[in-house]
Symmetry: C2
């Protein structure tokens, strides 16, 4: 049996439904325009937010074998989206990072996501904008704290 959600939960859920639906669709559309596949694009996103990393981290994060990670990376290197180099301190390990081309691609996608958010809020009053900003700061903080505590 579910307990009835609080008014805040309800608001959070309603917002999430709208937000998820819309942003997943536009994300999907953008990836398609790039000509990359979803797994390829996801790796670029990972590199954008978390910086350079080794192959093993990729296979862990995306829950695929080392072979799969290696093959995906190879395609991204071929396409010029990432650069692959040997780790000087451990010559078995490679690390990959975004190339300028890959970086531009991801940044353009993120900007497109931001645009929608800005559009949404463009019709709010200054007072409303302040309230929204405050609330989202609270949520972001709370989310980060939760993440850290795990």
């Amino acid at each position: 049996m579910m307990t009835k959600p609080s008014p805040m939960s309800h608001a959070l859920r309603a917002w999430m439904d709208v937000f998820m639906h819309r942003s997943m669709r536009s994300w999907h559309v953008y990836v398609k325009t790039t000509g990359l596949t979803m797994p390829q694009f996801s790796i670029l996103m990972q590199l954008h937010y978390k910086g350079a990393c080794g192959m093993s981290e990729i296979s862990e994060k995306f829950d695929v074998t080392a072979a799969a990670a290696s093959q995906l990376a190879e395609k991204l290197v071929q396409g010029g989206y990432i650069e692959r180099a040997e780790d000087p301190s451990d010559r078995r390990a490679k690390f990959i990072q975004l190339s300028p081309k890959g970086s531009d691609l991801i940044e353009a996608g993120i900007k497109e996501r931001y645009r929608w958010m800005d559009e949404i809020t463009s019709n709010l009053t200054a007072e409303e904008k302040g309230r929204v900003a405050g609330a989202l700061r609270l949520l972001t903080e709370a989310a980060k704290n939760l993440e850290d505590s795990k």
Copy 2:
């Protein structure tokens, strides 16, 4: 050149980055546990939020050929996730809708998404919760208005 984002934009963007990252990952993980592929799961989501629809709507929404839509639907029927029936008013057309099994699957996934949201806010004070609820209601309204005006 980008103009510097307002404090509200900044808060919105920070929230979006954290939120998208986390919820996309957990969504991905959940889909994997179901044994379904992403396109299959997306169709179930569509049916959950928008209700029954015809094949042509599926191929439009997901931007694939009618053949692809038909094949995906066939697999979901085989798996028992959806039911397919003839439209009585136009016997060429079929419509598909979630079966109880499919419906349960999607609802469980959504509940899992909600759980994280509730966790996040569990450490806020009552006053903060109130502010968050109000702000999110504003955003949800604004998003819907924007959608309608297009």
